[in-house]
Amino acid sequence: MSIKRKKLLFVPGFVLVIGLLIYFPGRKHAREHVNLMTAVEDHPLKCASCHLHMIDKGPIASWLNADYYSPLNMAISRDGNTLYVVAQDANELMVVDALKKKVIQHIPVGKYPHSVILSEDGASAFVSNQWADNVMIVDLASASVTDTIPTGNGPSGLSLSIDQKYLYVVNTFSSDLTVINLERKTEVKRLSAGNNPTGIALSPNGEKLYVSSRRAHMVPYGEPTITDVTEFNTSKNRVSATMEIDEAYLMENMAFTPEGDLALISLIRPKNLVPMVQVERGWMMNHGFGVIEQTGQQRIIQFLLDEPNSYYSDPFDILVSNDGKRAFVSSSGVNRISVVNLDSIRSLLQNYPEEELDYLAFDLSFSRHYIEKRIPTGASPKGMVISADGSRLYVANQLDDQVGVIDLNTFENLDPIDLGGPKKLTVARKGRQLFVNAGGTFQNQYSCYTCHPDYHEDGLVYNMAGKDMGRNVTNVQSLREINHTAPFKWNGKNESVYKQDGMRFSTVLTRTEAFSFPDLDALASFILTGIKNPPNLMYNPSGELTAAQLRGKEIFDRTVDNYGNEIPEKGRCVTCHPSPYYSNFSFEDVGTLSESDDTIKFDTPHLNNIFASAPYLHDGRAVTLEEIWTKYGGRDQHGVVNDMTKMQLNDLIAYLNSLGSAELEAKEQEVLKAEIKN
């Protein structure tokens, strides 16, 4: 063997030996690492699961992802030929030829648009831009935005007064209703409207306007859920009544029958007071709709969409056929539209005594009396419209970038309208589809989205992990921008989302097969890269702190108290909550552990957009930020605050309210500011 040949053999041999030397201990190390991060021992050790799909910015993130349209709500022209589709992720209003099933125009609108309605003459469209705090008036002839009118925080549902003089805008984040005088093109008043409202419906005679809330009253654990429908008198433009809907929440949308005898609300009935492991007994979440009688006793009765062993989770839109005989409810968690026979409902209302009607919302078997059909849809059906002739139902299949078309004579699907989104299904997009789908839960009872609406949190407190009643009750945490904020869970026991949503998750919460590893890759990828914080337009629209916020920042950063005494390091806000995430990702006892809690320290939560996450503390006992310190500050266990004046506490809270996304850079703030001014 020549020396040359020996050398040739030596090099691969050396590489092989080195490789083997690295591989076995490396694999062992990787195994240990992956086992720790996933809490399973059979993960295929695909590094990409975490180290590729969870990259949330830069060229790799751009390459991995795609720009989808994600249609949410729609309007239809009176002739039924044109659809106006809100493409939420593309910040566009899409004009679609309904006959040719083609997109004919893309009209850029504001950030994260939510709803669209048309003026009676069909000349204008009104679009609410939820992340820009304004509505735009779009001249449809020229396909251009003619006016931008500032609103409250997080505008969503829209309605016009019957005389077309006023535009009503539901402000989801600030929980009120903006009344815009369309002659002056300005907001003339803002009326309180429940908690986190979106749905809006005007009575056919134009006298009454309903707005439905999504979040419930904030009550201590143990008290039943109550959520408001607010009624407005449109002649005075004032709040005229508040209806409390018992044991329900997430009332996304409302509709009146054409004859005005009934108002309908989509709703979810959470059973958050019992341990969540009860899901296997079919008793965790119910989905249905409410009926508010407009005549007679004006009762509010709830009906279920669910049936035994099969749930129709996450009802979003509710619509009534032009003849008033049927209602359609889109359930984004199961990709179905339920067809409700309203005459059956009317008959039940007429013939059943009150106490039996109240019981119907507890009877899974009763829906057979009024559900006519379940129509399959594309991924995540959201807003719907019906053509003026009543022959077609269109539904925005949000996560397919399609508009579904249904023949209302046969209740059969026709060919959908493709909005032209990317054809590739990215890992994160697949994750989003999984997130909103209830297929992973026992009998489709709920999806991730149910308790994390808007990918955020539902404001409720759940008996999460304990099997015993009332142990370890915890408030749902937001999923917005939680990448880089590990560990997770209130006690910080999950080092990764992968672990949080893995095997244990199915054992405790969903009570069905665990997600497959590719599905878990997708889900974790979406959760960690696809959920953004809305800009904090409420308290920090410009990126510049107000005088009060600056004073609050000084208190947040302070090292000495009002008496000149040095505050121990643990007693300073900034020690545990340093920027940019305002968390040290560690554990602390802040004196709020309940007797019913396991003895632990709490994971330090991040504080980005904290203003939007009420209630506070691990079990949601603090209804407002103030209560963290006024009621639960104890003897300075959660920061040294007891020396502070009320004004100082207000300043501190003003500063906390100003905290926005860690990702939001100054440049983007400037753009947002410009949008507001426009």
């Binding site: 008496y563 000149g564 007891n642 004046t645 009320k646």
Partner: protein
């Protein structure tokens, strides 16, 4: 020509010199204030004099019948019991009130129903005293006793007016407390107006000082107390040249005392709580200043004597009563107090004992009706000149205690008390313009 000129001048005098006819002729002057130091006395008659006669409470409520079936008669207490630098004073006040109630209960309570003290802490932050009074209303107290801190007392006073519950103040010497025309409070401890008159008389008239410097707490107790002293000093012709401030809890007063030292005053007044006052006295002497030192009445405590030690010798202050008086009631109270609480009662304990006894006597006289309890406590006849353990309680028209003031001087490590000298003029002469 000259005559014409004179007539013209006289005409101008009459035309331009405005004076009014007061509606309050021939009334006693407020606060036992001598003419010479009454505000503006030397050049202008006031259009309106307040607190000359007590105002009446004309609201409804006397018709309410006492509830039946009561198992306890609730009386309120508001004082600094937690999270305050004056907690020791508050605890003494509480003990004094408790002792009075216990003795009343031993006598059979109110018609066999025991009294119960509803105890409320008055943390000064965030106007909490107002909320505490509302809580007392909710609890159904018939009258209440408190407090010491003047901010707390003022806040509580307005709340008690809204709730219409009688307040008996036994610890707050802020003169403005009773200068409010609120007919729902009496004060059975002499105020800083009376103390300042006595102190000013002592330092200026008896000791003959002229140039004084003051070092005081920055809080309302210091501000209002010193304001009263400086007003009197001005009107007596000895304006105070220097006023330095410190914060409660402060321990190093070098900066303030340097300024005082440079000014070379004849004497120094220290106005604050016992601890800071003692530290200041020590530092005054450490810095080589040998001037006489006078102080506000909160120094009367063992804490002051302990910290100041020898430096306390000769320091003079005022006292709202004489704890060494030869008064059998006082001696019995002091013995009972010592027995029960294992310590000497201080001024707050003694006045609280008197105040609570007044409430009890009022209830025993008129029954369980808040307005009638108020009526009898404010009528200035039923309990006027009440002989309490703190001496003779005399209420003026604003229901302020204008009883005797004593001077306290540290001699051989103890306070020795003697009556304050009367000013030459006492009370307002009826010849003063406007009366």
């Amino acid at each position: 020509m000259n005559k014409l000129r004179l007539v013209f001048i006289l005409f101008m005098v009459l035309a331009f010199t405005g004076f009014y006819t007061s509606a309050q002729d021939n009334k006693m002057m407020y606060g036992n204030t001598p003419d010479s130091i009454f505000p503006y006395n030397s050049f202008q008659k006031a259009y309106k004099y307040h607190f000359v006669e007590p105002i009446e409470f004309l609201g409804a409520g006397r018709e309410k019948k006492a509830p039946t079936g009561l198992t306890e008669v609730r009386l309120g207490f508001l004082g600094p019991l937690d999270n305050s630098p004056i907690v020791p004073l508050g605890l003494q006040m509480l003990n004094g009130a408790k002792l009075a109630l216990e003795q009343a209960n031993e006598r059979g309570g109110y018609k066999g129903i025991p009294y119960k003290l509803m105890i409320h802490n008055d943390v000064g932050l965030w106007g909490a005293a107002a909320n505490e009074v509302i809580d007392m209303d909710d609890e159904g107290v018939w009258a209440w006793l408190g407090s010491i801190d003047d901010i707390v007392s003022h806040v509580a006073l307005r709340a008690t007016l809204k709730c219409e519950i009688m307040m008996v103040c036994t610890g707050d010497p802020d003169p403005t407390f009773t200068e409010t025309n609120i007919p729902w409070a009496i004060r059975v401890i002499s105020d800083d107006r009376q103390s300042c008159y006595a102190l000013a008389n002592y330092v200026y008239n008896e000791k003959g000082h002229d140039r004084m410097a003051i070092i005081r707490t920055g809080d309302r107790y210091g501000r209002v107390g010193v304001m009263e002293f400086m007003g009197v000093a001005n009107r007596m012709g000895h304006p105070v040249r220097m006023e330095e401030r410190f914060a409660t809890g402060e321990t190093d007063f070098t900066m303030q005392l340097k300024n005082i030292k440079n000014d070379k005053p004849e004497a120094i007044i220290v106005w604050g709580n016992a601890k800071e006052s003692a530290l200041i006295v020590n530092q005054i002497r450490e810095m080589g200043m040998q001037q006489p030192v006078y102080a506000s009445d909160r120094i009367i405590s063992q804490e002051f004597l302990d910290i100041a030690g020898k430096n306390a010798e000769g320091i003079v202050t005022t006292s709202q009563y004489d704890p060494t008086a030869d008064n059998p009631a006082l001696k019995k109270f002091q013995a009972d107090y010592r027995k029960k609480f294992g310590e000497e009662p201080n001024v707050f304990a003694a006045h609280a004992f008197d105040g609570m006894n007044l409430i009890i006597k009022a209830i025993e006289k008129v029954g369980l009706n808040r307005v009638l309890i108020r009526d009898v406590l404010t009528d200035r006849s039923t309990f006027q000149n009440y002989q309490g353990v703190t001496g003779n309680i005399v209420l003026d028209a604003s229901w302020n205690d204008v009883g005797k003031i004593f001077m306290g001087k540290v001699e051989n490590g103890k306070f020795v008390f003697f009556p304050a000298a009367q000013m030459k003029e006492r009370g307002h002469s009826q010849s003063m313009a406007g009366y």
